[in-house]
């Protein structure tokens, strides 16, 4: 799995990559503009990112603008829905305004608030279908 971690905090990038390195190759960007550059370059080289972890508050270009640009690039390239890069917003902004903007204006379905625990990030990877769930979700549970 190819992973792009976008965060202006070195300690946050390290914390996130310590969790994700066992699942794939981690690249880094320190702001939204660099993230868009890295995303485009990876797409052009035929090795697109499977997962992007996106902070929101960053210098130069924030996570919302970067996510919108990445979405637009994927639309323009007519990338098949199944091949689109998955995105998780991982931010210290835990207020309704930021979370609603992420979900309903930027179109990101997964949001994790900082500080976060490893198990929360791994759970999100599972729910994005990027790693196998520890339980079979297709099997119906008995109804009691």
């Amino acid at each position: 799995m190819n992973i792009l971690i976008v965060d202006d905090s070195r300690s946050a990038r390290t914390h996130i990559s310590n969790v994700l390195v066992r699942y794939g190759n981690c690249d880094f960007a320190v702001n939204g503009a660099e993230a868009v550059e890295r995303f485009s370059a990876a797409l052009e080289s035929g090795t697109p990112y499977d997962l992007i972890i996106m902070d929101i508050v960053m210098p130069e270009m924030d996570g919302f603008a970067a996510a919108e640009k990445i979405n637009r690039i994927q639309e323009e390239k007519n990338i098949d829905a199944a091949q689109l890069s998955k995105m998780i917003m991982l931010s210290g902004q835990d207020d309704p305004e930021h979370m609603l903007k992420a979900h309903f204006e930027t179109g990101v379905e997964h949001y994790i608030t900082k500080p976060f625990e490893e198990k929360t990030l791994v759970e999100a990877l599972t729910n994005l279908g990027l790693i196998e769930a520890p339980i079979d979700l297709e099997e119906p549970l008995c109804k009691t």
Partner: protein, 168 residues
């Protein structure tokens, strides 16, 4: 990959229907299926207590003239307030409780809230007003979700439906 009942063989399983919710102080596995409806899960790691609901509409007072006679789990705001109050009444410190928000799928319409979006907005606003910690959210989009909540660990696993809501 294990069937959930094999991983937790002694743990009772429940299916949560629309307008249902409650607190689980014994280990339990609860599943539900969400479209535009919203589920908020609550988990206290210290006491291994879990709680959740499955609400269909955003605000109780928008729809009900006699709020005291109404099932609180039908509405997002009253369901959150009811579980917050009930957990506190059991002596659980709200600082120890972490929440996650799920569901709220719908077709986005230009310039107006979809029913799913309205449900999520009220969930976020009610949790913020109660100063409750939101750990993670998996909301929006145009596909339904099947959810499994493990009450004593707080884990939530989601499978997103393959068809969007317009095609179901």
């Amino acid at each position: 990959m294990q069937n959930v009942m094999h991983k937790y063989p002694e743990v009772p399983a429940y299916f949560l229907k629309i307008g249902e919710g409650g607190i689980f102080d014994q280990p339990s596995v609860i599943s539900t299926v969400l479209g535009s409806c919203v589920t908020v899960t609550f988990h206290c790691a210290r006491t291994k207590t879990g709680a959740l609901f499955h609400a269909i509409l955003p605000k109780l007072r928008t729809y009900e003239k006699k709020p005291d006679d109404v099932n609180p789990y039908k509405y997002v705001d009253s369901a959150i307030i009811c579980l917050h109050r009930s957990l506190k009444a059991r002596g659980i410190r709200m600082a120890d409780v972490e929440t996650k928000v799920f569901g709220g799928a719908g077709i986005l319409l230009e310039g107006q809230l979809s029913s799913g979006q309205a449900n999520v907005k009220v969930a976020f606003e009610t949790l913020a007003a109660l100063k409750m910690k939101v750990l993670a959210t998996d909301v929006g989009g145009d596909r339904g979700r099947r959810l499994v909540f493990i009450s004593h660990t707080g884990e939530v696993y989601i499978r997103t439906h393959s068809k969007n809501l317009q095609n179901t």
